[in-house]
Symmetry: C2
Subunit: 385 residues, 2 copies
DNA sequence: TGCCTTATCTGTAACGTTACAGTTCAGAAG
DNA sequence: CTTCTGAACTGTAACGTTACAGATAAGGCA
């Protein structure tokens, strides 16, 4: 080992002239500064520098200050590959996107929320889509097997979700947008789709509609069940008819939703109130009814779930209930980071309440309906989770 | 060096029982297989295995086959951190998203296209948004300074784009969605916004509209200029009035677009034909005109740029021109990968043609308009690039 | 004086990969 | 028989980081 000069003046190597730009003080001009660069400037061992920047207890206060100062001056940034190789920590969050989510801003809104939450952490966001024809397990297995992330954000959660089961078994951190019905608790953030459907149905009934129909997410995802429960509960409680949903859901191609609804209205006793859980679906639905000569607010009413601004400017205005996907993304990312930091799962399960945006005229018939005063309480608790 | 058994039977260590699952043949049970794992099984040096998997010329054909077989059997996946540390290659593409792109499916559609193109490459997609209040250069500098990607996808390109200048100076691979006016050629993929505006204006004029107004992207981005040129060229060529655009653009909040248009229609000599380059903006525009008592197809006509399915189901149907953002994402990613592989820049500059989706009734007045036969040719060449 | 403790700092090894500079050996050339 | 050549393989070192097991010096204590 070559002995190093330990005198006080050695610290002079760190330039006092501030504001020369982040890379100005680097020892080798073209190269990125590393711990070694700092060590040489500070006349310290690489290990000491590493520990100092980590605020380790075995390093003197003065040394820490000096090292931090130099690191800042020369614009040191830890090399992710080095850290990852040594520690296994990737500092990556993986968002697994389903192909259905291509529609509208789902992904983008979520991504901005996630990015905001990760903004001043070391995490990068990697988007890992899986494709229609592929196995939903494939991206999950890939991430686990290659160790390419520290945590996963899932959506389109199912009651018995194979992905969740696998990740739980592996002890791998993840968070779901949506709930499962698995026995083992796990982190999630969910929109209260029970309350959404309940409030939507209630609104329609208050406006005098009695034959209600819902376009829900496809069977299989958990929130389909929640939404149907809220829908049927309100219909039952307030004395309306919950009509069997036709063979369409929010994944159905908009053209098919439109034509199906046109046909439906030609049959006897068609619905007069609709609930729709997707922006584009709601536009297609309205178009189908217009094809059949019907206008919202006249022959029928509609309450739609809104996640973008596409429904803000229909004429006539329609009632919507807003799900804030940007906030959802933010929450999901925060929960996941907390899960990675080993916070107890029980504190990582949250539900987002719907924001009512009722924009149509007040109900013409303000006839009192059933015992609605306890609806919010029940709406928020579709089940024990 | 410990001598190793070089006999033929050593290869037997690779299990003949296929289909035992990817990780079944690993030597150490819980650990990820590495080159060392393969080397031990194959009785070879780690270097040899590395070269064999890279199809290096100094390795025998039989050895290569054997190594590949073992790698497949035990489910070997190169460790990205190791490769990255040693070679500097990150195998990461970074998509820099602007906050304006939160609106609608811009990001999501692009992301799916990009993912498709990267699907069977080693590249991962990292999304790096920058936030409204921040410097647009910040995410770029971060990526360069930390070496966290092999290439960057930019959007909202400006004529004198500082980001491009910087990346060119650094020699860092990137591709733009949109063109710049910088002297140094660089890879891009752009939608032909000149042709879009030209065709849209032509359509409106063919339908008898003479007072045209456009809601374009904000000044500053290059495609604002392209679009305005196409718009004004068509108006001039076919004898219509290109009205000064009010102080709104596609970034304006939809509510403001709506109220501005309502007011505008109350003034004397209002426009009777509109071009709108955003989905949501078009909905807000239509709403504003409806507020003023006007119906599309009657008091005015509209041609909108469509990038989602939100405009598919308006009633009455409106004319749109489609920009396929998923295909755009695919193209951008392909171009970027080719740029990273050092293909000449000249072959990495492409323009996507608009897809006309005119859905309204044929023009009532089929009066012949100016010399329209050369419009396509001119439309595709807004400038020398 | 010697020994122990504490505070502070240190080098070595390892993570998985690949560039590079060998090494080995069979067979051809002299 | 020796020497050379080339094919096929090998070990070593390095990328930047951190866990771990020292090392050093100052001071306390007997």
């Amino acid at each position: 080992m070559a002995p190093r000069d330990k005198s006080e003046t050695a610290a002079r190597a760190a330039p006092e002239t501030a504001l020369r730009g982040p890379t100005a003080g680097a020892v080798e001009p073209g190269k990125r500064p590393t711990l070694k660069t700092i060590a040489e400037i500070a006349n310290l061992g690489v290990t000491t520098v590493s520990r100092a920047l980590k605020d380790g207890p075995e390093i003197g206060e003065d040394t820490k200050k000096r090292v931090r100062r130099i690191a800042r001056d020369i614009g040191y940034r830890p090399d992710r590959a080095g850290v990852r190789l040594r520690t296994g920590k990737t500092n990556v969050i993986s968002l697994v996107l389903n192909p259905h989510e291509e529609v509208m801003g789902y992904g983008t809104s979520m991504i901005f929320g996630i990015s905001q939450a990760l903004r001043d952490t070391a995490y990068h966001l990697v988007v890992t889509p899986h494709f229609l024809e592929g196995d939903p397990m494939e991206p999950i297995r890939y991430i686990i097997e290659t160790g390419s992330a520290d945590g996963i954000i899932l959506s389109r959660t199912r009651p018995q979700d194979e992905r969740i089961r696998y990740l739980l078994e592996m002890g791998f951190p993840f968070v779901c947008h949506g709930r499962s019905e698995l026995a083992t608790p796990h982190p999630f953030h969910d929109f209260d789709n029970y309350a959404f459907a309940f409030e939507a149905a209630k609104r329609l009934i208050e406006k005098g509609r009695r034959r209600l129909c819902i376009i829900a997410p496809p069977e299989g995802v958990t929130y389909h069940n929640h939404m149907m429960m809220g829908f049927e509960r309100a219909a039952h409680q307030f004395g309306a008819v919950a009509l069997p949903a036709p063979s369409i859901n929010t994944d159905t191609a908009p053209e098919d939703i439109r034509s199906t609804l046109r046909q439906m209205m030609a049959e006897s006793d068609p619905p007069d109130g609709f609930i729709c859980s997707g922006d584009i679906s709601a536009l297609a639905l309205t178009a189908g009814l217009r094809d059949a000569g019907m206008t919202p607010g006249r022959e029928f009413d509609l309450v739609a779930k809104q996640t973008s601004s596409a429904l803000d400017h229909t004429t006539p205005a329609i009632d919507t209930i807003f799900e804030d996907l940007t906030a959802t993304g933010h929450t999901l990312a925060s929960l996941l980071v907390r899960r990675i930091n080993d916070e107890p799962v029980e504190s990582l399960q949250t539900v987002r309440e719907p924001e009512l945006r009722f924009r149509t005229a007040a109900p013409a018939t303000s006839a009192p309906i059933g015992q609605s005063q306890d609806s919010r309480t029940q709406g928020s608790q579709p089940e024990q989770v």
